[in-house]
């Protein structure tokens, strides 16, 4: 109890003395602010990618792809794709037909507005019941494509980012003119996606296999039954994944790369800022040698001095963490970036702020250890005699 009271009293004393040491305090503040700000902003990229990728994911949708092949490599022959519709667990639409959409993906090039830089985006051939599968898809202009016609609809980010997506604009793809007939929004996704009729697309590209099949299940709990039926059928060389797992798998490497970069840079900056903090705390302790010796002489324990100095170090790190997280939020939250041609918004969440604060407290602890040790061992007699 006495120890705690001593530590608290010393901490108050320390904090009152800080105004006289503005330089040292500011060094710690700015160091921690910069580190936490950079760390949180960079982590916000990973969170942004994740949020966008999973933003429109539904638990009751299962994705079927060729066994052992994800993404564009997957190939599902027509007969196998048709057989999927007979499997158990698939929900039925208002017309009584199973909610299933067949997709065929081709990658085509677009030109960025203004700069004219070439960017690739997916043109997804799909079934026209896609709006039943994806209720979050809402048309902001025009209408859905008609099956059999060379028509396509584009998500609004396409119109903002690329040229040639205005209504009634014509795009030549594989020697055929395709007319843009509708614009749609899909949840919070920033990614450009163009949709058209799968059969028409496959005819033009003389393809005979789908890339992917999505089914809407009656309930998320039906997934296991659906998967067992699909993978138990010897005629089908397919595998089923929950949409969430399929999407996460696709983005695993990208988010891992972004997070690695964030923690790498964050760690190096933290080392630098901690060194600065150690220096500042040393100078604070040095400047107070006589004061500390006096305190020891009148009965304060050296343990209490150590604890009080550590607490002071943590309290100095905290405002920097809050400021850094706040700055990251003010400047970068919602900022649209598109590294590697994938567009998303930075997402600064309270979770990231918490990581930033934890980072700062760790810096405060490590940075405070040596100076606190030194403060606790100020030799009473020599320090009082000197100067």
């Amino acid at each position: 109890m006495n120890f705690l009271r001593q530590s608290l009293a010393l901490l108050c004393l320390n904090l009152k003395g800080l105004t006289a040491r503005a330089g040292a305090v500011l060094t710690i503040l700015i160091g921690v602010t910069c580190t936490v700000g950079v760390l949180v902003s960079m982590l916000a990229m990973g969170t942004g990618v994740h949020r966008q990728a999973l933003g429109n994911v539904r638990d009751d949708i299962a994705t079927v792809s060729g066994r052992g092949a994800g993404g564009l490599d997957s190939s599902i022959p027509r007969d196998e794709a048709t057989a999927v519709a007979d499997l158990p667990g698939i929900a039925r639409g208002s017309d009584g037909r199973p909610l299933i959409s067949y997709q065929s993906v081709v990658i085509i090039e677009g030109r960025r507005r203004g700069t004219g830089v070439r960017v690739f985006f997916p043109l997804i051939g799909t079934s026209s019941n896609v709006t039943q599968m994806r209720p979050e898809m809402t048309f902001t202009a025009g209408r859905m494509f008609h099956p059999g016609l060379h028509e396509l609809v584009a998500s609004n980010p396409c119109i903002r980012t690329f040229t040639g997506f205005e209504l009634d604009a014509r795009r030549a793809v594989r020697g055929v003119d395709w007319t843009v007939v509708g614009h749609f929004d899909q949840g919070n996704s920033m990614q450009c996606v163009a949709l058209t009729d799968a059969e028409t697309l496959m005819t033009v590209f003389s393809r005979n296999a789908f890339t992917e099949v999505s089914v809407r299940l009656k309930s998320p709990a039906d997934f296991e039954a659906f998967r067992a039926a699909l993978e138990g059928n010897p005629a089908l060389h397919l595998e089923a994944k929950r949409e969430r797992d399929a999407v996460e798998e696709g983005f695993k490497r990208f988010s891992a790369l972004l997070n690695f970069a964030a923690y790498f840079v964050g760690a190096i900056m933290a080392v630098g800022a901690t060194l600065g903090a150690v220096n500042s705390l040393y100078s604070i302790v040095d400047a107070r040698r006589r004061e500390l010796a006096t305190l020891r002489a009148i009965g304060f324990g050296s343990g209490a001095i150590v604890v009080a100095t550590l607490a002071e170090s943590e309290l100095l790190a905290l405002p920097g963490a809050l400021l850094g997280a706040a700055l990251a939020w003010v400047f970068f939250h919602g900022m649209a970036v598109s590294p590697f041609g994938y567009s998303f918004r930075l997402d600064v969440t309270s979770q990231l702020a918490a990581i930033g604060i934890a980072w700062a407290l760790a810096m405060g602890l490590v940075g405070g250890l040596l100076p606190a040790w030194r403060a606790g061992r100020v030799p009473v007699t020599t320090a009082l005699r000197a100067a």
């Binding site: 081709v106 090039e109 840079v265 060194l275 600065g276 220096n279 598109s338 590294p339």
Partner: protein, 381 residues
Amino acid sequence: MKFLPLVWSGIWRKPWRTILIFLQVSVAFALFGVLQGLKTGVQQAVDAARADLLLVHSRLSSLTEGLPISLLEPIRSVPGVRVAIPVELFGGYYQKPEQGVGIVAVTPDKDWTAAFTYTIAPEYLAAFARSRTAALVKDLTAEKYGWKIGDHIPLKSNKMQKNGSGDWAFDVVGIFTDSDVGGGRYIIIINLPYYDEARATGTGTVNHFNVAVTDPKVAVSVADAIDRISSNSSHETKTESLRELAQQQVQQIGDFDFLIRAVVGAVLAALLFAIATMMVQSVRERTSELAVLKTLGFTDRAVFLLILAEAITVCIAGAALGLALATAAMPIAARFVPGLSMPKITLAIGLACAVLVALMSAAVPAALAGRLKVAAALAGR
């Protein structure tokens, strides 16, 4: 020069403080070096990409769409084309799916290597032309999987053979190196005529054509001439040089430029402030010593320069260590981003930044020291 000992003793007045600042500068410049080196290294890789090698691929997508092999003769007859070689790309794996291998199928016509960035010994080339199932293995691939010349390597692919099997096997007849840093890491070269006959689907189409032009200056007009061959057909082409392709890749990662600049800015700002406060502290502690120097006849300017010299020495030493660390780390980073190296210009910019940081951070404390009034300082006022 005679003031060097004075600067030196000033630096080591409080060894701990100096060492900490030195380390902080080192850490900051190590980060600076890695980030800046990444940026400049990528730019240098682009400039090194060959402008006389053209890639003819589908206008729709260079990955998923093929081109008919019948385009080969018209392309070869375009004036300025030296060598044109059809290339098919597909993926497979060795033993388990994580061990991917990129498979490049080429027609080994006369002088075919002129249209590639590969370096292959003549005896390997001869052996490759002799056998239909021969494979040339990139040095990195051979190293990774322990393949030697004479090995029979079984690969699995989702490209099927006519008999419905995805199992392929090739005989290693040689090892090659690739000077194009953007090329695949784990690749092998096989015979396109053999593969085209054996595969179940896609016969008669290829992923792209590699074209070497007689002179880099005619590359653009040759590219246009090649694209005109198939304009308005169902398989329009897009012809670009390796350098143009590299430039586009760099533009795609463009947003990272901003990021790198922001991080480097934050690091240097924090460093600036840390050094400035430490120098102010140091000058304040040495008030009486500096006053004695002035009493001995040191001018205001000399004292000002003395403090500045201390900051510059520590900063340059720290920056040198940091940049050396970054240079040492580059070969490791090159494993993830091929072709990275530390450009000399980055080292020069780093040292210049160090001097700048030192000047800016020491300006105020040095001015304080320079303006010190002797009488007041000695009196402890």
